[in-house]
């Protein structure tokens, strides 16, 4: 038979070569595998969807205190607060972003935003950026345009009914163009409006009727007006020439801005013209009002000529309908009440903003940001930077007076918003109010005098006054309080805010003092304290160096409240408790924390009671 061909050599090479190479490669794999860590540490928290293998490399014991004391790793895992890819076992995959994992480890701002996913209170201990951001959200009225969980429609913007009686059309035009020069402490953002749009808005606003005004006042006395302003302490809330508070509007130009008839009607009965204002319900006499108007007309005017004046300009009433539509479309109705316009929001809801991926969002070309808080900050600072082609130009106005840090804090607060993000058992709700305003007559008084605009009570209220009302009932004597409410005096020299003189009558003051004394007592202060020896007390007072902060008979410093007249002002039980137990008796106060021996406390209290 013919010779059979042998197998070609290359076949043998392929077969043997492949076999050996494959065996070698598998061998490499085996060796590589032997070098991997065999022990994998896992934290699994099913409800949070967490599978964290971080502890394979990191030791939880090395974590800086005190975070893990309240946030045990067993309950929270690691990635809940730190981000990153918990499932990974290599450093690069765990810490950095990749094609299959979009979020690297959180930076500081994203970490704080993660706090906010569970902690709902405005102020969160340990998260200063988040807390500040939430305060800014309330202060700047973001919820007027955007639906934000936990924030209602703001009530700080003025009601606009009867605007034509109050200011001129020229002034409104100037205000809508740029509020900053007219009211440096303002909260209103700057909208990009065309002249036609401004005309329409003015036409609409001037078409709204307001309450009838009182007849124009007779000319008042400017000097008496100056005295009245000083005595009433208007600058506690209002700024004039860069001095004063931020609660109300800047009055530097009020003499030229406000029409005199409106101004005096307003002072005669604040809440009749503006029921929802934060200003207390002053009821000045027409003469006093006329004096203040005269003073304003003389002093609170611009130095140079301004385009607007107090005289009304002509307004085209046919534009009112357009203006009303614009008023709603641009978001004015979210902050301002005006006629029958419903309070609606004009911008997108933000309640799930925290889940947005930066990769999906438009970027401002020059410096793209990778984390959500920074992106939000950029958007807040320069809203027009993100016009998306094909989409209508951004309606968002510009917010002046925001620093880069403020914007980042806002970004943190907003990046914390996640709908259904965290199961209920993990949420830390805002603390419930511990005290509230009663209904009835006292409630009406508290509302009329707007106590909570300046004072804190039970977890709500403003921070203009350094003193909160909680526990105040146990600290001061009732008779003194009644007198104080009628005529507030200065107790704390180092505070710039002074309680305005609102004309509270004796009857009203008595009702308020009764309520404060009973409902706002501090149960932790025991009653019936026995006072000691005032002479020893005086010596102890000197020895303890209380004059470091207190003034008595002209000696000492004004860091703390003056102690002159304490005999009629302070409740002795309170003084004993404060001295014996220390500053914790007044939460948020600045009294030293350590307490004194009981006997010494009684002696000093006795001496103070004699002042």
């Amino acid at each position: 038979m013919t010779a059979e061909p042998t197998l070609p050599r290359w076949l043998h090479v392929v077969v043997l070569g492949s076999l050996f190479l494959t065996a070698a490669l598998v061998g490499v794999l085996l060796v590589h595998d032997a070098a991997r860590p065999t022990q994998v540490e896992q934290r699994i928290v099913t409800e949070l969807g967490v599978v964290d293998r971080c502890e394979t490399c990191h030791d939880a014991a090395d974590h800086p205190a005190p975070w893990l004391d309240d946030h045990a790793v067993e309950r929270f895992g690691c990635t809940t607060c730190h981000g990153g890819q918990g499932l990974a076992l290599t450093k690069a995959a765990a810490h950095e972003a990749g094609p299959d994992w979009e979020h690297p480890l959180y930076d500081a701002s994203e970490r704080e935003a993660a706090c906010g996913a569970c902690h709902e209170a405005t102020t969160v201990v340990g998260a200063p950026g988040l807390s500040h951001g939430r305060a800014l959200l309330a202060e700047r009225g973001c919820a007027g345009c955007h639906s934000i969980p936990g924030f209602a429609l703001p009530e700080t913007a003025p009601q606009l009914d009867g605007l034509r009686d109050k200011v001129s059309a020229g002034w409104v035009h100037a205000w809508l163009t740029d509020p900053a020069p007219l009211n440096p402490g303002h909260k209103m953002p700057r909208f990009a409006l065309t002249d036609a749009e401004r005309d329409a808005l003015v036409a609409f606003l001037f078409s709204l009727d307001g309450p009838a005004l009182d007849p124009a006042p007779a000319a008042g006395d400017s000097d008496r007006g100056r005295l009245a302003v000083a005595q009433r302490r208007c600058t506690t809330c209002h700024r004039v020439d860069e001095r004063g508070g931020d609660v109300g509007s800047d009055l530097t130009l009020a003499g030229a801005k406000l029409q005199p008839a409106w101004f005096s009607s307003f002072l005669v009965d604040t809440h009749r013209l503006r029921p929802a204002t934060r200003m207390p319900g002053f009821k000045l006499s027409p003469e006093e009002a006329a004096d203040i108007v005269a003073y304003a007309g003389e002093q609170w005017v611009p130095d140079a000529d301004v385009p607007w004046s107090a005289q009304p300009d002509s307004v085209d009433p046919t534009l009112a309908a357009t203006g009303r539509a614009l008023f709603i479309d641009r978001g004015c109705a979210g902050c301002h009440r005006a006629g029958d316009v419903p309070r609606t929001r004009a911008a997108m809801a933000l309640d799930d903003l925290g889940r947005r991926h930066v990769a999906d969002l438009p970027q401002a070309g020059a410096a793209p940001t990778h984390d959500l808080p920074s992106w939000i900050a950029t958007k807040v600072l320069v809203p027009a930077a993100f016009d998306v082609p094909g989409v209508a130009a951004a309606k968002m106005p510009a917010f002046t007076g925001l620093s880069a840090d403020d914007a980042l804090d806002l970004g943190i607060a907003l990046a914390a918003l996640r709908k259904d993000g965290v199961p209920g058992g993990w949420k830390v709700h805002a603390p419930a109010l511990t005290a509230s305003v009663p209904a009835g007559e006292v409630g009406a008084l508290v509302d009329r005098f707007r106590c909570l605009v300046c004072h804190q009570l039970g977890g709500q209220g403003g921070a203009v006054a350094g003193v909160g009302l909680d526990g105040e009932g146990s600290r001061v004597r009732r008779e003194w309080l009644v007198a104080f409410l009628q005529q507030p005096v200065t107790i704390r020299m180092d505070q710039s805010a002074r309680m305005p003189v609102m004309g509270i009558t004796e009857a009203e003051a008595t009702k308020l003092a009764e309520w404060i004394g009973s409902s706002l007592a501090d149960p932790a202060i025991p009653e019936g304290a026995v006072l000691g020896d005032p002479v020893a007390g005086a010596t102890a007072y000197a020895a303890r160096g209380c004059a470091t902060c207190h003034v008595v008979h002209g000696e000492g410093t004004m860091k703390g409240p003056t102690l002159d007249g304490s005999g009629s002002r302070l409740d002795p039980d309170y003084v004993v408790a404060l001295l014996a137990k220390g500053g914790t008796v007044v939460p948020g106060g600045r009294h030293p924390e350590g307490g004194l021996p009981e006997a010494e406390a009684r002696d000093i209290a006795a001496w103070i009671a004699s002042l």
Binding site: L16, A23, L29, L30, D33, T38, Q39, V40, L68, D69
Partner: protein, 150 residues
Amino acid sequence: MAEVDRRSFLRHLGVGAGVLLFGESAWATLRFAHAPVSYGPPSRHPLGSPDNFPAGAPTYADEAGVFVLRDERGLRALSATCTHLGCTVRKEGDGFFCPCHGSRYDSAGRVLAGPAPRSLRFVRLVLDRRGHLVVDVDAEVDADTHLKLG
């Protein structure tokens, strides 16, 4: 002759490489199948403050399934899993009793009667950073190992 030898040599070489490959693959398969992926209940359980476990009788820690014993030398954790077929034993008199097949143990977990093949296991107790007890039910220790306190 040389031809046949070479062919036979090559064949043996090839078969050898194949066997090597097969062995490596078998080993890799075994390693593959023993991955430490576990989504079951954790082996470490927190037990709270040591004060929860007074001296005297053993105290049962429900979630971990262990009895915590305290004596003058410290604390120990005794697994409540019967060594016969895994039922949970209960306290009876000084010792423990398994209701499934009647195994009896003394106060130190040693078998007194019944089908249990060995004594109850002691498992490791440690203190966490807050001074609370943590038991690892998968880590066996010997009967003399105590967690010293104070």
